[in-house]
Amino acid sequence: MTIFGVALLSICTLIGVFLGDVLGLLLGVKANVGGVGLAMMLLIAARVWLQKSGALSHGVKLGVEFWGTMYIPIVVAMASQQNVVAALRGGPLVLVTAIGTVIACFGATALIGRIGRERPSDVHDEAEVERGGEIISGDLVPDAPGKKA
């Protein structure tokens, strides 16, 4: 059933965010520490576990992957509610800092992305990664023929 997938996603998110809050509390930070990242790891683990035990049904996949396909529209909605006016009106200090940071981080991405890249083929399973991309871009109907059975 589809709701099982949505519920699985919700439970992973709730547990992850809770763990992030607990981690923040333990570290004495007034913020959630990696809650979404922890939730992602939980969901990855759940997927592996369901696949191994043969319980990864069509409905479960549909329920989770639907929200994956909604990712980009949600990001567009997110962009529509940024405080762009304040960002652009911040003055020279804001401009210099933001531009400098973004340039520096792109440079660092180029450098770090190359570390340990000597293996001939970096991607472990090209088809699987590609299918993931199609789901997230909203171009693939969940459960269409793909690598992940």
């Binding site: 520490v33 992957e65 990712y71 940024q82 762009v84 200090l93 210099v96």
Partner: protein, 254 residues
């Protein structure tokens, strides 16, 4: 008549938001196909349109939440708010290649460290260059360069003035906006085309909204890898900002 339509938009806010974003995506795809021959990703155009609408919304309402401050578009606030954004980000993890993510794990951690320290140094240096000399203001502005949440959290913890906190937030938001817009253009030059570099990118850029938007507009298959590292960024920034980084700045400024 107009009033009735307005009433429906307000009452059915989330449903209206789905329709609104759908139209924006549709127009963007047409622009992408017809005007750029598909060279510019439809999602990239949609995100830039979103930012443009946010600017208009901000000008019209004088609020802080872009177009979502208009009552008829309040549903955008829910659809694009942190709750559903994080929910969708977690859902993308379902498409992660476990082997791939594990291989790049250490790289991601390394990127997180650099991605916290490097923006902070740049922000702090800019603050000094613009005449700030007290450790609290320098640290807060530096923290704003990490993400727009780290800035105010650090500033509040250290007791920075509200002007400085506002500057830190503006810096973080502008950083996120710049990442959304420039990532599709620069992706090729920095080798951002595989899960490994996406994890490095997420850790370095931090700001979840910037990374979420930037990667969506570049190559959706990279989204979960970048998001996986980026979501740790704010937490780590809030951890080291008011502590280690503040102490370091105080040691230098005396």
């Amino acid at each position: 008549m107009m009033h009735m339509i307005q009433h429906i938009f307000i009452e059915q806010s989330l449903v209206a938001a789905f329709a609104f974003v759908g139209v924006v995506m549709w127009v963007s795809l047409i622009i992408s196909k017809r005007l750029t021959m598909g060279r510019i990703h439809g999602s990239a155009i949609a995100i830039v349109m979103g930012l443009g609408l946010a600017y208009v919304g901000g000008l019209v309402t004088g609020g802080q939440k872009g177009i979502a401050d208009m009552p008829v578009f309040a549903g955008i606030g829910l659809l694009g708010g942190a709750m559903l954004r994080d929910f969708a980000i977690v859902a993308t993890a379902f498409e992660v290649d476990v082997v791939e993510a594990r291989k790049a794990g250490m790289l991601g951690v390394f990127a997180l460290v650099i991605g916290t320290v490097l923006p902070f140094i740049i922000g702090a240096a800019a603050a000094v260059a613009f005449g700030y000399s007290d450790a609290v203001s320098i640290t807060t502005i530096g923290a704003g360069a990490i993400t727009y949440i780290v800035g105010p959290v650090t500033g509040a913890a250290l007791g920075a003035s509200s002007t400085v906190i506002a500057l830190a937030i503006a810096t973080g938001v502008l950083k996120a906006v710049l990442i959304m817009v420039t990532t599709p253009m620069l992706a090729r030059f920095v080798g951002l085309d595989n899960p490994r570099s996406a994890m490095a990118f997420g850790g370095l850029m931090g700001t979840v909204s910037g990374v979420a938007g930037g990667l969506a507009a570049t190559d959706p298959k990279l989204v979960p890898y970048g998001a996986l590292t980026a979501t740790f960024h704010t937490g780590i920034g809030c951890l080291v900002g008011p502590s280690i980084l503040y102490l370091a700045v105080r040691a230098i400024t005396g």
